[in-house]
């Protein structure tokens, strides 16, 4: 167990260290998310579709795109100098490798959200104080689910020729449950409904996360070992 955590931490730290040194993907993802928010604003008639409706939607779409950018980066890094082989050669539990990659992806996505969410609040005049702690909670819960599924899928997609296309194709159906739950719940929160009313959605997200993280831990070996 200690092994698992130790190695996961080492892998995540390594990924993040590389990312912070180059910073290119983080910047690209943040800019991408901001652009999406802007496009959403101009793509509707402001008198017909109110800010409070388009705002949360735009935010969740931006989150989904940022996640895809993050996920692609993850395993492309390991193609450098065949680093992936080094991971496979290590006497490391495969679950630890999955966890490490997943945590790195999660940090990345949360950082992009830390930029995108305030922007969405700003652009769409979303009542942040009304939503309160519910919003960050939703962001974290939804992100864990997306990243768990995405880490597993991107490990496979990266081995195909059109990796950047293959990942979204595989990922799309898996995005529906967390995004519907998160969008529905955030909509309610911005409308001023209390946190207790969206507990069902939160529970849904938590179960989704638990199930797919577990599945990732179990199935990662089938993906990376021959």
């Amino acid at each position: 167990m200690a092994d698992l955590v130790r190695i996961a931490f080492a892998v995540a730290a390594k990924d993040l260290r590389v990312e912070f040194r180059t910073r290119s993907t983080l910047l690209a993802a943040a800019v991408f998310a901001a652009l999406i928010l802007v496009v959403f604003n101009f793509s509707r008639d402001p008198t017909a579709v109110p800010d409070s409706v388009i705002g949360p939607t735009a935010l969740w779409v931006a989150v989904a795109f940022a996640a895809v950018v993050a996920l692609n980066r993850g395993f492309i890094l390991e193609r450098q100098n065949a680093a992936m082989d080094a991971l496979r050669l290590a006497p490391a539990p495969r679950g630890a490798l999955f966890l490490g990659k997943m945590v790195a992806n999660l940090v990345f996505v949360l950082l992009v959200e830390a930029i995108a969410a305030p922007l969405a609040v700003l652009f769409f005049d979303l009542p942040l104080t009304t939503a309160g702690w519910g919003l960050p909670l939703l962001l974290v819960l939804a992100s864990v689910g997306l990243v768990a599924v995405g880490t597993l899928l991107s490990a496979m997609a990266v081995r195909t020729r059109f990796a950047e296309l293959m990942l979204p194709v595989l990922l799309l159906p898996f995005l529906v449950p967390p995004l519907t739950a998160a969008a529905g719940a955030s909509q309610r929160l911005f409308d001023g409904r209390p946190l207790s009313e969206v507990v069902g959605w939160l529970r849904f997200l938590a179960v989704y996360d638990l199930v797919f993280v577990t599945l990732g831990l179990l199935l990662f070996s089938a993906v990376i070992d021959e």
Binding site: A10, R21, T22, L77, A82, A83, D85, A86, D225
Partner: protein, 233 residues
């Protein structure tokens, strides 16, 4: 393949196909402590594939590989492998790469990094990014990474590529040191004079199997002549 000692690393009836070709057709191999085996042969005959299979990276279509009696995939920590790529992250420093490797292998103890860097003569370069290293330095770092957990079995695929004469000589003495300390080494190379002094046994792989194997001849020209003979016939 006969060996002087009971095999530390034993491979039996290894077969591997790659689409159109049967690259390895039932290869046996056995190597014991303190031996250094050179595997030579024409390009594309499966030497690298065999090494990858021995390392547990590639799964053979048939046969088994055992290290110290257990399947190699369960004994990864006791094996060191260096392939054609360096396994290093270009955007991390030498020190960061080696630290990560130690953490993966579970041998990350205080002070260990310093010792590794000193032994590999990489101390002056410890904080340089790998992408700024010369080929020779990168190869040295890669080797240090592969051996960082002091494994009893070491597999090296053309480790002399890109090394200048001085570095090659240094590598050869490292190999001799390791061998004397009881490490089992398998080298794949295609220029026999590289590392010749460290080698104790030779074997030639062609057409999916061994066409020659035995103790190392006295000189390189002798060996090369032998290789030419077996490949002709």
């Amino acid at each position: 393949m006969p060996s002087a000692e009971p095999g530390l690393l034993e491979a039996r009836r290894i077969t591997r196909r790659y689409g159109r070709t049967a690259v390895l057709g039932g290869v046996d191999l056995s190597i014991g402590a303190g031996e250094c085996l050179l595997i030579a042969g024409p390009n594309g005959t499966g030497k690298s594939t065999l090494l990858r299979i021995l390392a547990g990276l590639t799964r053979p279509d048939g046969g088994s590989v055992r290290l110290g009696g257990v399947p190699v995939v369960e004994a990864r920590g006791r094996l060191g492998y260096l392939g054609h790529e360096t396994f290093l992250y270009d955007d991390l420093t030498v020190a960061e790469n080696l630290t990560f490797a130690m953490r993966l292998q579970g041998c990350d103890v205080p002070g260990a990094l310093g010792a590794v860097l000193a032994r590999a003569e990489l101390l002056p370069h410890r904080d340089r990014l790998v992408r700024h290293l010369s080929r020779g330095l990168a190869q040295r770092a890669a080797l240090a990474r592969a051996l960082i957990h002091s494994p009893p079995v070491v597999l090296l695929d053309e480790p002399f590529t890109g090394l200048d004469a001085a570095s090659a000589a240094a590598l050869t003495s490292v190999l001799i040191e390791m061998r004397t300390a009881g490490v089992a080494i398998i080298l794949v190379g295609h220029r026999a004079e590289e590392g010749w002094d460290a080698v104790t046994r030779v074997a030639v792989l062609a057409n999916g199997g061994w066409v020659h194997e035995g103790p190392r001849p006295a000189t390189v020209p002798e060996f090369e002549e032998r290789v030419r003979e077996v490949l002709r016939g």
